[in-house]
Symmetry: C2
Subunit: 284 residues, 2 copies
Amino acid sequence: MPANVDQYVEENRERFLAELIELLRIPSISTLPEHQADVQQAADHVAARLAEAGLDNVEVIPTERHPLVYGEWLGVPGKPTVLCYGHYDVQPPDPLEEWETPPFEPALRNGNLYARGAADDKGQMYTHIKAVEALRAVTGTLPVNIKFLIEGEEEVGGASIARYVADNGEKLRADVALVSDTAMYAEGMPSLCTGLRGLIYAEVSASGPARDLHSGLYGGAAPNAVYGLIELLAKAKDDNGFIRIPDLYEDVEPPAPEEKASWQELPFDESEFLEKEVGAPALI
Amino acid sequence: MPANVDQYVEENRERFLAELIELLRIPSISTLPEHQADVQQAADHVAARLAEAGLDNVEVIPTERHPLVYGEWLGVPGKPTVLCYGHYDVQPPDPLEEWETPPFEPALRNGNLYARGAADDKGQMYTHIKAVEALRAVTGTLPVNIKFLIEGEEEVGGASIARYVADNGEKLRADVALVSDTAMYAEGMPSLCTGLRGLIYAEVSASGPARDLHSGLYGGAAPNAVYGLIELLAKAKDDNGFIRIPDLYEDVEPPAPEEKASWQELPFDESEFLEKEVGAPALI
């Protein structure tokens, strides 16, 4: 038995990589109906790895669209429970000519593994599974209880997992949720993301006159649907960029002093952010 | 010699109509280069009719694009001079399937003459020429001096006439300009239009970030070019619909009491205007 988890990881590095490459080879493109079987295959792959990592009650859960994968280990009652979220579906790989190597033929270059989904989110999700495997293999236990819920619709709106979570509150109950679908803050700087932005959207249609109206005859009197939309959208934010939905900010907690302090330690350079990352004349 | 102008018009009605039909048959579509020769032919037609009406110094004036047609009669020195404007070019006739009869085969239906350009502006422009012809033929003179300037680029922006007017102020000097390119207020109600709306336009481009930026990571910090345009365009008018160009309204004369009074006599019905003409839920 390896002396510690790091040693276990070193000894199994090649196998871990081979398994990840196998998963990355599956074109589990959730937006394209012709890849339905590939998406299913990726779900089965994830379930098999969860079982091998020593999780219990592993299941591939059918939904109206793409399956969810669940697994749990609840061997330390009284300890906190961590719910790990990730997704095994990927975006379409277009435009293909932008790829240096084919998107579903994983390639190692300069110590990085390039493939569609390697960084969103098969790669990160896989590290969670392998962390459980390594901890169980070396220590025989885990410091916390753990549940995995991995979806295959992240890139298409996530309707099935939203329904499943709403319907299975007790089964999924946890003290903390750990989302693998986030980024490292900087190269070589593994990061814990403690806040995610929400999304509210609506499709708005504006209709004005029933027929073409000459601006010289009707402009100023007849409504213009495009200008109506412009006025409406311009009112979505105030002059300081604050969203004008009543009471929206009442539920927003300001960052804690510790959070603010931790941000100070990040390697953030505003001019580099502006010029290299954003590439705009100014920030908002 | 006819006893009066009305009698002259009655006696020559068939010829007037035949001449107008001949002009309407010419597909003088100024936007389409393949109709260049047709546009020239329409200009020549108009010039010939001006000469026949007894105007002097008739000329077809070449420009960078489509010719102008000029003619004058200055036989009553000391009397006011009227400058008559019109255009002999037409819009493309698409969509063709919407025409009951072909656009360049003028057809009489219910006492109306249908053809591309019949109402914009060959028909109206022709009435001015025929008015001069009838007055000259019956009275031997005209009550005012008159100048005609007819263009062939009204439907493509009118760049040549704008240059010509700027360069020929003395030649075109007049006490009043009479524009034939306006409409009757209502069926059976010949109208004098005493005001025309101006047009100021600009092409605005907005550019934001140099590359695609995920709203979840950059939204709120990086500028969005579309939203920038929305904010800009929304500021073009205030909440009451007034244009927010500084001093714009300082040069705007309010309508005279006589004008306001004359409007009261127009057969205007706001609900009919809204429901039948505009077809929108409300006016601005």
